[in-house]
Symmetry: C2
Subunit: 136 residues, 2 copies
Amino acid sequence: MAQQTFSIGELAKATATKAETIRYYERIGLLPKPGRTAGNYRSFSTGHLGRLSFVRRARDLGFSIEQVRDLLGLSDQGDRPCEAVDAIARQHLTEVNRKIRDLQALRRELDSLIGQCGQGTVAECRIIEALSPGHE
Amino acid sequence: MAQQTFSIGELAKATATKAETIRYYERIGLLPKPGRTAGNYRSFSTGHLGRLSFVRRARDLGFSIEQVRDLLGLSDQGDRPCEAVDAIARQHLTEVNRKIRDLQALRRELDSLIGQCGQGTVAECRIIEALSPGHE
DNA sequence: ATCATCCCTATAGTAGCTACAGGGTTCGGG
DNA sequence: CCCGAACCCTGTAGCTACTATAGGGATGAT
């Protein structure tokens, strides 16, 4: 069976990733260096396609580049226990929960700020006032 | 009455801001350039203190630098209607709400991912599997 | 042959700081 | 009067995760 290869543009389309981003992932070592054609174009394999899909999915779930790097390293060593993978995911979940709480607190403050705007002039604007020094 | 002045360190302490950040705000024009002492040290006034407090409070509420810049410009012109201020705050609130929704969706996905980890080896890890291509 | 469309490298820009390096200033003690 | 500590100065590079040029070469269709 024929080895299927992709140009960077084809890989980009297949993974909904910009070509620049693919080159960036290669540069920082998230993606192995692909082969080259006679005209020096990158030539990606189905292996690259799989790996890039993995990276994109993990990034979409909000894992950092370093976390993705760790997950990739672990997934390459199938005979080791799964705990480390679980730990990375749990750590990420903790961060997500913290961000949600922070943003919800923020929303409450913004809500009360906006509720106070009486549509007068800036001089008597409660929003500006609340931001100005001398409060709390 | 004596004009009170502050060194950058004093201003930093008074506003819980690092000195580097204060210099940065000056450089990008969020803070007016302060006077200088004979030894070329910055000399801030109570006006600077007020303005920096405003900036910090707005930043803590998640307003971007550009939004803070707009708010500052508006607060300097007390005789204009308050609508523009309200609009900036509402726009920010919309963004915050969107972020909260996105993160909550993320959390649901992470939750189901983590729930599936059966503590086996990486080869049979559901998390890795869910990230790998061939799903959906 | 020519043009559009792809691709290449290298570099700089984004947000919002933070962290140096390599100096000068000020102030208190000895 | 000098020394060291603690402060301050400028300028530049680093951080995340890309994105966007500039200035070229390669490929494919007409």
